[in-house]
């Protein structure tokens, strides 16, 4: 599988960008000398220059710096939110798939109910209740996006649980818990991983959407979404404030999507 992964140039490109992003996020303070929250009114809305490669925003803060620091928040939200969704989804999905019967019905019914709500709207409504903020956003996205992954792992487990090695394991006295966690989940996790990768991209776009409504990451913390919103307000006077965060989101989401696609291709070459 890894060989196949490495062969596809697009997938490599995606993976490369992701790696670069993680490095940038981790080493942010070393890459740029500015403070992302330092306000300097007299430097407001300067064009890109050597001093400020991406220009400055309306409060005089260096845009390049803010975008770099925002990558931390993007990755944080992406991975934590989707990680949470994956944890919940894998739990519910594997229990439903393994035990079947009434438990399966109940869990899938619950997932159906959750799916009846339009996704973004549900997130918005819950944020309206609990208030915006990085933590709340991560938790809410996590709590509302597990259904897809639950379905995927359930489907895998349904087909895997009749395999020989599972039957053998059970006849040797292995507990259900052991079988699920040691055999079924690791073998069935493929599609969930793919979904996870796409999910990170989705979470980043969702945060941008929430920022549009004003319920995204709050000031003064920079997120690509809220920088983009600021850029919208200064559109005619500072094209850089809207161009660069948009490109950042575009490239990141693109990278995750390409990598996810490649992963999916590699995992199941012919299956639909």
């Amino acid at each position: 599988m890894t060989k196949k992964l490495l062969r596809n140039k697009l997938t490599l490109f995606g993976a490369g960008i992701i790696l670069l992003l993680v490095l940038i996020a981790v080493f942010a303070p070393y890459i740029t000398k500015y403070d992302p929250t330092c306000i300097n009114i007299q430097d407001a809305l300067l064009r890109p220059s050597l001093e400020h490669p991406f220009g400055t925003d309306s409060l005089g803060r260096d845009l390049f710096t803010r975008i770099i620091y925002a990558s931390r928040i993007a990755l944080l939200i992406g991975f934590v939110a989707v990680g949470l969704a994956a944890a919940i989804g894998v739990f519910f999905g594997s229990v439903a798939g393994y035990f079947g019967g009434k438990i399966d019905s109940a869990i899938m019914r619950f997932a159906d109910v959750m799916l009846c709500f339009p996704a973004f709207f549900l997130i918005l409504a819950v944020i309206a209740v609990v208030g915006p903020g990085i933590f709340n956003i991560m938790v809410v996205i996590g709590l509302t996006s597990w259904m897809g992954m639950a379905r995927l792992i359930r489907a895998e487990i349904l087909s895997l649980k009749t395999r020989d090695y599972v039957l053998a394991s059970r006849s040797l006295g292995a507990s259900n818990f052991f079988i699920i966690t040691k055999h079924l989940i690791p073998n069935g996790i493929g599609p969930v991983l793919v979904s996870l990768i796409f999910g990170v991209a989705g979470a980043i776009l969702t945060e941008a959407g929430l920022s549009f409504i004003g319920l995204g990451v709050q000031p003064p913390d920079p997120s690509w979404g809220n920088i983009l919103m600021e850029g919208k307000a200064v559109m005619g006077a500072g094209w850089w404030v809207i161009l660069f965060p948009g490109l950042a989101i575009l490239i990141t989401v693109l990278a995750f999507n390409l990598f996810g696609e490649g992963l999916r291709d590699a995992l199941n070459p012919g299956k639909s």
Partner: protein
Amino acid sequence: MSLETELSPVYGDAFVTGQIGDARTLVPILASDSPSSYIVSLVFNGLVKYDKNVELTGDLAESWDIEERGLVIVFHLRKGVKWHDGYPFTARDVKFTYECLIDPDIPTPYSGDFRMIKAVEIIDDYTLKVTYKEPFAPGLTSWGMPIMPEHILKGHNLLTTDFARNPVGTGPYKFKRWKTGERIDLVSNHGYFEHRPYIDRYIYRVIPDTATMFLELETFGIDSMSLTPLQYTRQTDTPFFRKRFQKFKYPMFVYTFMAYNLKDKKFKDKTVRRALNYAVDKNEIINGALLGQGRIATGQFVPESWAFNPEVKPYPFDPEKAKGMLGEAGWNDSDADGWLDKNGEKFEFTIIINQGNDTRRMAAEIIQRRLKDIGVKVNIRVLEWSVFINEFVNKKRFEALIMGWGLGREPDCFDIFHSSKTRTGEFNFITYSNPEVDRLLVEGRRTFDRSERKKIYREIHRILYEDQPYMFLYIPDALVAVNSRFQGIEASPIGIAYNFIDWWVPKDKQRFKY
């Protein structure tokens, strides 16, 4: 540049304005949101209105007499005014409007001032006598309330009536059509009692996004919009813009402030509040958040108001002094962590602001930064309006917040600063109490003599700045762009819309024919 050959007004054309929000109801006494009030002001008239010198002048009332030292006002109404459906306007309509205002089953937000009235008597079709329980100076202004037609609305439930979406008034424009969420169309009232408006149609377009609105302005999809400071200073100086549009800047009767919850032990001490005032550079806020399009606020009254006290000067920006004062009040950085503390507690608080206001957000960020410089930690929380008002303001669950008051021209601010107005939902939500201010507020309402009132309110202005229940921040300027084809616009302290019926477009420049 073509020479204007036409120097006198002609009829025709339409005026298209762009606004963010749609109206909710066009029943005047129920319209409490800006978009609704906007349309109502074109379709209806009150008894009085403000002229361009910020003085009260007659609208539906030709004149009035104040008798018995302010206890009684007798209005002499204009004769020959007709409602848009042809029916004559009389004193019965005024009395009917008054009865609706004080009706306990009608949830009008405006009844406060009218509760001070003891009786309204119709002397004849065009004369009305209003008797107050006590002399009440703000009363006259309150009669700017739009008057509703008795012959249409009597017996109707104002909350469910069709009138809310199909109003009939006496004003310069008649209602034509409302496409929800999209636009409202008005046409000129040819029989309007002042004179027929020159502009034949008024179109109110709902454009929910300011970036989009500016693009619409540039492509002539709308004729006018309120500009943000940024748009005003940076995006509208091109030769294209200067040729096609006229810009207006005039002071608003609005000020923005940061309120302290005076029940919070951190803010109880006046010295602390005054210290914080020294620590924040208001000019930085005006330059940063307003790009210079505004002035420092020193209190409840703006410079254009007769109640304004020019001797109250804003504190200079002096962080050292601020630190010193805070030190006196017991706040020092005893553990050298960069933050001030007292009795083991860090000086930290949260400012809440409502979502959707970029200027306030920027002001909050600037305050946050400057207070950080003197060792005070500030967190910012942005809340939706509903949550902001209900949870935090009404239930007083806040430490500090940034908000603005839209002021009438009448300086009475009893509802905001009197110590009795502290119930849930009332406007003294900071729990301010100063017996001297209380006394002055009561006096100010009962006195009719302008020079007496002036002294009273100027004293209030002075005391409030000294007490610092709010950190008074700024008075923004109104910034408006209007397509250059409209003639007759004159900026004044009350804006540019006061003489809208006198605006006109030369025949060769008119865009909309029907």
